[in-house]
């Protein structure tokens, strides 16, 4: 780009910027930019702007969330006092106008449009021109209309998006060239430099201001690709806006048209019937969907920030909010700079950085002088950021250190706007807010907070946990468990506290609103959620039991019934032992942790279910005998889990054996004393003290016995695969059902000299997985094993070697060492010899072994086998 022109751009008022441009035909590279004179298209538009103004149609091209535009617009409205105010925004938002005009509505707020698959935000801050326009219009009794196309899902967009995207500006090569010429970093700084930092008089001169915004956005419009605008729906939306505008253009009293400045040029051209508007006119005005769902929600600056996430409009709303307030209060540029620097310094001090008052004054002075050097009447965001970096950063870390974090907090911020109670919010949001407030959760800002809940001892904490879990279950994104006792995950058993984190972000309201379609209350949502989970194809005993746990953790006993019934059904149908065992572990966890739960009348049902589950498990044991090799590893896992489940039940019943009064022999016993009144939370608390620790009075040996019996039978089944047999022997030995001699005897069958190598390996795998330390404590077994391995054919040994290796990995390293010592003793070698590490290339070793085999073979063939004796 030619340098002389760059200076011209700086010094010429924007309305007269000398730019010669042709709109780029789609697909062709941009022609070289020659800045000679105002391009005709822009010149026409600027002339038309004045012409239409004289006819009472005021085009206000804005940037979203620009306090400069808002101030100029306020000046315009006060002077023109139009009868009609048209605002870019989906037409169905008209019905939210009363709520938006309500004095109790305090920005930042947003309108949430809910589509079939997506939702989108339309945020409003104090300093949003749209907000200023609608508030002024409603207060002055003017006709206020949103006049953009109805919301529709954008197949290319993210799941959540904003309706105020300004990517055309960010993409414009012309604006990038202007930025380079002005020494600005990006299009945001160009905007700031040209508009935001104007003095109060310049802002009040709205005629010049909005002519300049038209010229500025015109730059982006001129080098935008028409096909792209067609494809992304820009032209279609402009057609809708133009058709509404046509209705109001001759309204006596005048009309003010507030749109993103990018659209102003197109709207003027449509109104003028200019040939360039053919693209827009080609679009038939889309049918309006005035019944589209749209809700008003609380919003925060963190999400408004264009630099982060999916926001749009000006970045750093926290900064512009301060600028807006300071300018409204008539503060001087220096006062304003001092205020912002003080806010940042306070956060830095909070983070342990020593910032003296002198540094604060230096930084404020630096900001003001930077603005002066850059010919700005007011310090902009970049001036203050630059000043803070200059004065507060004492190394080469730039914005990456604590200062960056402090700036993010000051320029963003989690403070939420306010809405009148019960207004234009779906009942679900109101309910969630009411309960959250009652339970003393902080929902006035979006800061994430951690809570540690003593649910074991404090009923109030239990109620808080139940709410958090419920909000998690309905997918609101409000809460998640971060640690401590976690019943749903089955983690942290024995811990006293539950650790949770929650934050009432705008997304929570958005999610709840989106979920309102599925249920009007939290309870209803839970019920539909349960129905959905139970209706899945892959429902298993384990998944249903996990759902039951979640429901009980949520304190939703009313929703339990279908899940309990489903689990009972699962026990009838379930074909997987592992799933049944997992579900039983979950139920056992519920009983063990009754203290922090509200099981209520369902306690009895849970116990009955455990009995049914154990019966189902017993029924699933015998078929294990026919398992194929691939499934045996999983079956071993299941058997081990089953055995630990049995021990879990029996341990607690052993403890209970001393107290015959509470030893009901079977599930048929109905414990009315517990079940009557446990529904209310208060009585649950009381009940819990009675029933704490009573894992299962019902599940004594009499209920576990059928499973034990089936396991014993299976163990004796001669057709049982070796691996499962090894596993069952190991388990039985651990439970003292076998003594060492019996074990050695049973093992002998598998390990006898000449036994099938696969069988030996499988047996060992199962045995060691079930009871890894068994080998160490049973010398008989070691001897048998050693003999079996020694007697194996070399090829057979090599074939099962990988399995053998895997079997021994169940031992800890120290155990492996002890076992090696025993073996060394057995074979008469020294333990140190076994430890020797030979670093031989496996390929070489393989060759050597092959050679040895060949040699041996040839010696034997030649009748010299005797030579091999040594």
């Amino acid at each position: 780009m030619a340098e002389p022109v760059e200076t011209e751009l700086v010094e010429t008022p924007l309305g007269e910027t000398s730019v010669d441009l042709v709109e780029t035909p789609s697909g062709e590279p941009n022609p070289p930019v020659e800045l000679v004179e105002t391009p005709p298209r822009l010149a026409h538009a600027l002339a038309a702007l004045t012409r239409w103004r004289d006819r009472g149609v005021h085009f206000v091209g804005i940037r979203h969330h620009s306090p400069g535009c808002a101030a100029a617009l306020a000046a315009l409205l006060d002077e023109v006092r139009p009868a009609v105010v048209l605002i870019e925004g989906p037409r169905e938002y008209d019905r939210l106008l009363p709520a938006l005009a309500d004095a109790r509505t305090v920005p930042p707020v947003a309108v949430l449009s809910v589509g079939e698959r997506q939702s989108a935000f339309y945020p409003l801050a104090d300093f949003s021109p749209e907000w200023v326009a609608l508030r002024w219009g409603m207060a002055a009794g003017a006709t206020v209309r949103f006049f953009d196309a109805s919301y529709s899902d954008d197949p290319d967009a993210d799941e959540v998006r904003t309706l105020q995207a300004e990517h055309h500006l960010a993409r414009s090569e012309l604006i990038a060239a202007v930025a380079a010429a002005l020494g600005c970093r990006d299009h945001d700084e160009v905007w700031e430099h040209l508009f935001e930092v104007r003095g109060p008089e310049a802002l009040a001169d709205w005629r010049t201001f909005f002519a300049d915004t038209l010229a500025w956005a015109g730059l982006a419009r001129l080098d935008a690709d028409r096909a792209l605008l067609d494809g992304d729906g820009t032209h279609a939306r402009e057609a809708v806006m133009a058709s509404v505008l046509q209705q109001y253009r001759d309204e006596p009293g005048g009309v003010v048209v507030v749109t993103g400045a990018f659209h102003t040029l197109a709207l003027i051209e449509v109104l003028d019937g200019a040939p360039e508007a053919a693209w827009v006119r080609a679009h038939k005005s889309a049918a309006h969907q005035l019944d589209r769902e749209a809700w008003l929600i609380r919003y925060d600056f963190d999400r408004l920030d264009g630099l982060r996430g999916y926001g749009a409009g000006m970045p750093s709303p926290g900064f512009w909010q301060r600028a807006w307030l300071a300018r409204a209060a008539g503060a001087s540029p220096r006062d304003f700079a001092v205020e912002v620097v003080l806010d940042v310094a306070a956060r830095l001090r909070g983070a342990g950085e020593p910032i003296g008052s002198a540094s604060v004054m230096d930084a404020a002075g630096q900001a003001v002088r930077l603005a002066e050097l850059r010919a700005r009447s007011w310090p902009g965001r970049t001036d203050i950021t630059d000043a803070l970096v200059s004065c507060f950063v004492k190394d080469d870390s730039g914005l990456s250190g604590a200062i960056g974090e402090a700036l993010r907090e000051v320029f963003g911020g989690p403070t939420l706007g306010e809405l009148p109670d019960g207004l234009a919010a779906p009942p679900l949001v109101a309910e969630a807010r009411r309960i959250a407030t009652k339970l003393r959760f902080v929902i006035t800002d979006a800061t994430p907070r951690a809570v540690s809940l003593d649910t074991q001892r404090k009923p109030a904490h239990r109620r808080r946990r139940e709410f958090l879990a419920r909000m998690r279950f309905v997918g609101s994104g409000f809460a998640r468990q971060t640690g401590g006792a976690d019943l749903v995950q089955g983690l942290g058993a024995g811990l006293l506290f539950e650790d949770w984190e929650y934050a009432w972000t705008p997304l929570v309201e958005a999610n709840l609103i989106a979920a309102s379609a599925k249920g009007a209350t939290l309870a209803e949502l839970v019920r539909t959620g349960v129905a959905r989970r139970l209706g899945r194809d892959d429902t298993s005993a384990a998944s249903v039991a996990s759902l039951i746990t979640e429901l009980i953790v949520m304190g939703e006993p009313d929703a339990l019934a279908p899940a309990l019934a489903a689990l009972r059904q699962c026990y009838d149908d379930e074909a997987h032992l592992g799933s049944v065992v997992a579900s039983l572990h979950a139920l056992a966890g519920l009983l063990a942790d009754q203290g922090r739960l509200a099981l209520g009348e369902h306690l009895v049902t849970v116990r009955q279910l455990i009995a049914s589950g154990l019966a189902a498990a017993a029924g699933l044991v015998p078929p294990l005998t026919g398992l194929r090799a691939d499934d045996q590893a999983k079956a071993c896992d299941d058997l081990i889990a089953l055995r630990s489940l049995l021990v879990r039940f029996e341990d607690s019943s052993v403890e209970r054996a001393d107290r015959p009064s509470v030893e009901p022999p079977s599930v048929e016993l109905v414990e009315t004393g517990v079940s009557t009144s446990a529904t209310s939370e208060v009585s649950t608390g009381a009940t819990s003290e009675v029933s704490t620790g009573s894992t299962s009075e019902v599940s004594t040996r009499s209920t576990t016995e059928p499973v034990r019996r089936e396991l014993r039978r299976l163990r004796r089944d001669p057709a049982l695969p070796a691996r499962l047999h090894g596993c069952l022997l190991g388990l039985a030995f651990s439970d003292a059902e076998l003594d060492p001699d019996e074990l050695a005897g049973a093992a002998a069958a598998h390990l006898a000299p000449g036994a099938d190598a696969d069988r030996v390996a499988g047996f060992l795998l199962g045995l060691l997985q079930a009871a890894p330390d068994l080998l160490l404590h049973t010398p008989e077994l070691v001897a048998a094993l050693n003999a079996a391995l020694a007697a194996m054919e070399a090829e057979a040994f090599l074939a099962v070697l990988p399995d053998l290796r895997r079997a021994f990995t169940w031992l800890k390293p120290s155990e492996t060492s002890r076992l090696a010592g025993q073996l060394a003793e057995l074979t008469g070698a020294r333990a140190s010899d076994l430890d020797a590490v030979l670093s031989i290339d496996p390929a070489v070793a393989e060759q050597a072994a092959a050679l040895e085999r060949e040699l041996t073979g040839s010696l034997v063939r030649d009748g010299l086998a005797a030579w091999l004796a040594s």
Partner: protein, 366 residues
């Protein structure tokens, strides 16, 4: 650029760009722009001197970060000194020289910091013959650059401040906060007070070997500005081309764009630790700055002119780059070799300049 006939190898900026400074001063007078006390030019004219002003025929001399220049100038307007930090070869010293030349009309009030710098170099020392003959008189006092800058109301430059021991650096602490030097030899309360326009620009390297930490007290008296390497590869190529023109004249051996691209890409890969396609590369300790890239290009051009056929080839570049990377440790050589063996080998398959580069680099290791 102004043609200056001089026998100096490298005249200071205020001599080289005398005409530009003159034009800026006249523009200031014409526009009535406010000139800060003690300064030769208005703040905006200083800025224009550094980043260029085509309307006045002022060339751009510092590339890449205009906001940094703004901040540096504004820092010098205030009470704080200006500390330019960053990797070697990022034009810190050049920026300091340009600012001093524009603000004070001289860039020569400079302390060149080293391990041997003493307090006398920062404050003042004595002409001992005169001291013995006349006692402590003004004539016998040998002023340091800082002393002179205070007396004249000018910018003093302190190059490589972190090469000096911390206690010597700290001599500046009271000078910067009180803006005066006490001279007890001249009698009670004798002092030199700084005139308006006095300030200090220091340059420092925070990460190099053999540098000293700065005290917190000294840090507080400076505003820090980090000069970062140029990240735009196309722009870096353009800069190197210009630097070559300046160094060797327009008749320099031809350096074709693909070969220049090889140079810039290799440097950028090794400097940033990742290729433009995102493949991680191990970074050598050796400085892979733009300035060093210019050195490589100059050396390769020399080789082409006197030893080759007058055209710079990628092989010449490779031989020089290997030399740069081997300035440091054995480890660096290994890393560069790894880079050649992997990244360059890959590229050599589809590009003849990279092929030449690869062959030449391979040859160096035998």
């Amino acid at each position: 650029m102004t043609e200056v006939t001089t026998s100096e190898l490298r005249p200071p900026a205020e001599v080289r760009y005398a005409a530009e400074l003159d034009a800026l001063a006249r523009a200031d007078q014409a526009s009535g722009a406010p000139v800060p006390p003690g300064w030769q030019l208005s703040a905006r004219a200083v800025r224009a001197f550094v980043v260029g002003d085509a309307g006045l025929g002022v060339t751009r001399k510092f590339y890449g970060d205009d906001p940094l220049v703004d901040r540096a100038i504004v820092s010098l307007l205030g009470r704080q000194g200006l500390m330019l930090v960053g990797e070697p070869g990022t034009a810190k010293s050049m920026l300091s020289e340009l600012l001093a030349a524009a603000i004070s009309g001289t860039s020569n009030l400079t302390i060149q910091g080293s391990a041997g710098t003493t307090e006398d170099h920062v404050r003042y020392s004595w002409n001992y013959a005169l001291l013995i003959a006349e006692g402590p008189t003004q004539r016998a006092l040998v002023p340091s650059p800082v002393y002179q800058a205070m007396a004249r109301g000018a910018i003093a430059r302190f190059e490589e401040i972190t090469r000096c021991p911390a206690e010597i650096q700290d001599t500046l602490v009271s000078i910067l906060s009180e803006k005066q030097i006490m001279i007890p030899e001249f009698g009670d309360e004798a002092r030199l007070a700084a005139r308006p326009g006095f300030n200090v620009i220091a340059t420092a390297n925070l990460r190099d070997r053999g540098v000293h930490e700065m005290s917190a007290a000294l840090k507080r008296r400076f505003n820090f500005e980090t000069v970062r390497p140029i990240s735009d590869r196309a722009f870096e190529a353009e800069l190197i081309g210009r630097a070559l023109d300046a160094e060797l004249g327009p008749q320099r051996p031809q350096l074709s764009p693909p070969v220049l691209d090889v140079l810039v890409t290799a440097f950028a890969d090794l400097r940033t630790g990742r290729t433009d396609t995102g493949t991680p590369v191990k970074r050598p300790d050796a400085v892979m700055s733009t300035a060093e890239a210019v050195n490589v290009a100059v050396a390769a051009s020399m080789a082409a002119r006197y030893l080759g056929d007058g055209t710079v080839r990628a092989g010449d570049i490779a031989r020089q780059i290997v030399g740069v990377a081997q300035k440091g440790e054995e480890e660096d050589a290994r890393l560069v070799r790894h880079y050649v063996d992997n990244v360059v080998r890959q590229r050599a398959r589809g590009s003849s300049p990279w092929r030449e580069f690869f062959d030449a680099a391979e040859g160096l290791w035998g």
